[in-house]
Amino acid sequence: MFYREAGDFKTTYRDDGQTFPIRLDRWGYYVILAAAFLVVPIYIDAYWANAVLVPFLIYAIAALGLNVLTGYAGQVSLGTGGFMAVGAYAVYKLMTSFPEVSIVIHILLAGGITAAVGVLFGLPSLRIKGFYLAVATLAAQFFLVWLFNKVPWFYNYSASGQITAPTRRVFGYAVTGPTTSAPAKYLICLCFLFVLAWAVRNLTRGTLGRKWMAIRDMDIAAEIIGVNPLTAKLSAFAVSSFLIGIAGALLFAVYLGAADANEAFGINKSFLVLFMIIIGGLGSIFGSFAGAAFLVLLPVLLKNILVGSFGWPTNLAAHIELMIVGALIVFFLIVEPHGLARLWQLTKEKLRLWPFPH
């Protein structure tokens, strides 16, 4: 009923292999894209941008990045916060050193720098696996945050160790700094997310993604059939860190405006992004979005319902909110260990058959 597939024939391999093979899905995707690019920017206000949509878009990029590494290539990482910090400090140094260069280039360069750092910390993955690798990346997390606290050059010798994003413009519109309008913030993040998600989706469908998945599923077998673990693992680290670095750069420059390595990029951030991909679904692009939405939007929604609508005291609401989010995480993991992406897939399958199941 929902999916009317009658007459939707695929006559070429190209048609068959596209991202959204079902016509209705494809239309839905175009409608969502059109709404996100054309409708939302007209209606968005500062609250929706800063509290809801911008953090969602940025965390979606970070979750995509970690999903490449953990979901597709099977390398567990607890260093996300540290890599985001690399992106943030890289973009800060670039912004303040070369103010005349476009911020978009700086953000991409920050991603590139993070990719290099990620490859460096990914080297141990050639020797160690699983929990041991998680601990090695945890070391990256602590080392990087310590480094940005310790070396004053990274924060331009400011008295408090804080980094503050100056105003930078794209096509004449401020996208960083205090005067940034809500649509500008939203659109710059949306553009990055759109391009990156599109690129990652196509990477994971191609040779590189298949190599990653082969390594994830059984590294020895992958090696025997000719997948080079060195290039596969390190490319996963590079692509993943590139995305995470861009997310860190956007988080600092566009969303927060000022940041402190310990507070903004601590171990909590690593766990947050890891929870996003676990809840959303490992090895799924949709899962990265769903997980980011779940963990960014749900607390805000709960807070508004409990405090705004029910008028509860803020501390009670904050505690209940933690409990609800925690309980929902446990619930989802028990009911659907493969995350929201799998849940969505099941729903879709049911909807394709509905109302005449077998």
């Binding site: 804080q162 402190d260 507070e263 929604l301 405090v307 803020t314």
Partner: protein, 426 residues
């Protein structure tokens, strides 16, 4: 079903935007997390003073004051969300009680033209009103505190600190790093050796720093801590038998919650404060009559009179005085944030005015101007008495060393002005 959920969600988000009315002073508080024990007392004091004004005087200038609360958990991302959620409702001034959040709000508040009032925290160089038009940090800031602490130690040592070793145990964040530059200058001026020991937030783990303290044997230890870090530090200091009277905390490391868990071992611990403590002020008669007895106190009034409660109340007093001044200047009781900014800049709270408010000798006299957004910077030292379980003030209000602080503030604010492209006013 799906549509219903979306409408419900949208409705819930919309409900967050409050209706326009009254004078709105949002309270970005934190009552949860590792800093919740401290934040909750401050928030109570802040709420209660405005409740008192509403109940006793019918608000300020006939306008009721509304204090919507928003939980930040001392987290900058939640702080931004709270700021955005409340600013639409006609918020007049923000007091986020977090240096991290303040750093974020300084450029935002200037762009939105809403004043920030950050007594005893935030960016120290905001004292320079020529650069920081929208930020006020009277009566005292971090550098004032560092200087007053060193002055107190000078007094203790007959005016000579040369050859002494002073260590700073600090919260490894923007907040904890603030005093380092000043203490380094002061070390050069007075000839003491200065060392800084960072403690990573939230600070439950500081064994190694205290081991190092035991090895280095500093004569004095200063602390810039907050939340659980304070009690842990005092406990660790007690464990290495560091003499408590040589251990001085900043404003934020000297409340009941910090010393009580350590029990008798915390006896003699000192801390800075920029206001009085305890219940011996006439204002508490009114507070009891209008707020506590009718059951209108925030959280049932369980912390009335504590150090942080007093500080929250003091912040509310200054904001209320600034609102009254702004109403007088603007000639209207329904003021805008910009008019409140003018009120802050023209604010004068004399000793007599404090007495009228029922708070004699509670804080230093405050005079603000276009150049000076930080008042006199005077602070005093208090000491914990573990048997009586109360703080006693042991010095009078002391003036900080402005010869050292003045140039530092000028330097830091100029750097900010250059970075942010601000043309100094005044």
């Amino acid at each position: 079903m799906k549509l219903k959920f979306t409408t419900l969600a949208a409705g819930a988000f919309m409900a967050a935007a409050p209706a326009m009315a009254d004078l709105v002073v949002p309270n970005l508080s934190y009552r949860t997390g590792p800093y919740g024990a401290n934040g909750t007392q401050y928030a109570d004091g802040f709420n209660d003073y405005f409740t008192l004004l509403n109940e006793r005087d019918g608000g300020i200038g006939g306008e009721t004051i509304r204090v919507p609360e928003c939980e930040t958990a001392y987290n900058t991302e939640k702080g931004v969300e709270c700021y955005e959620a409340t600013k639409g409702g006609g918020a007049l001034v923000y007091n986020p009680l977090s240096t991290g959040i303040t750093y974020q709000l300084i450029p935002k508040a200037a762009a939105d033209q809403i004043p920030l009032y950050t007594p005893g925290y935030g960016r120290t160089s905001a004292k320079n009103g020529a650069v920081f038009e929208w930020v006020f940090n009277a009566p005292a800031n971090y550098w004032d505190g560092a200087s007053v602490a060193v002055k107190y130690l000078l007094d203790e040592n007959g005016g000579d600190l040369s050859g002494k070793k002073i260590a700073l145990v600090y919260h490894n964040s923007a907040y904890g790093k603030e005093p380092i530059r000043t203490l380094e200058e002061l070390a050069e001026k007075h000839g003491f050796t200065f060392s800084a020991l960072p403690i990573d937030p939230p600070g439950q783990e500081q064994k190694s720093q205290w081991l190092q303290t035991r090895r280095d044997r500093p004569d004095y230890v200063l602390m810039w801590g907050w939340g659980v870090m304070n009690q842990t530090a005092i406990q660790e200091a007690a464990n290495i038998r560091f003499p408590m009277e040589n251990f001085i905390g900043t404003y934020w490391s000297g409340s009941e919650v910090d010393v009580q868990p350590v029990g008798a071992a915390a006896n003699g611990y000192k801390a800075l404060t920029f206001h009085g403590v305890g219940m011996d002020y006439p204002i508490y008669d009114d507070m009891k009559q209008y707020v506590i007895d009718p059951g209108k106190a925030s959280q049932g009034g369980q912390f009335v009179g504590s150090v942080l409660y007093s500080r929250g109340m003091y912040a509310a007093v200054v904001i209320a005085e600034a609102i009254a001044k702004a109403q007088e200047l603007a000639g209207t009781s329904q003021i805008t944030p910009a008019q409140l900014r003018d009120g802050f800049e023209a604010l004068e709270i004399s000793a007599e005015r404090l007495e009228e408010l029922g708070l004699p000798d509670f804080g230093p006299a405050i005079t603000m101007s276009c150049e000076n957004h930080g008042g006199s910077g005077m602070a005093r030292v208090q000491q914990w008495d573990a048997t009586e379980r109360k703080w006693t003030l042991i010095t009078d209000f002391t003036e900080p060393d402005q010869d050292v602080l003045g140039p530092l503030i000028a330097e830091d604010s100029e750097a900010y002005a250059k970075e942010a492209g601000i043309e100094p006013r005044c």
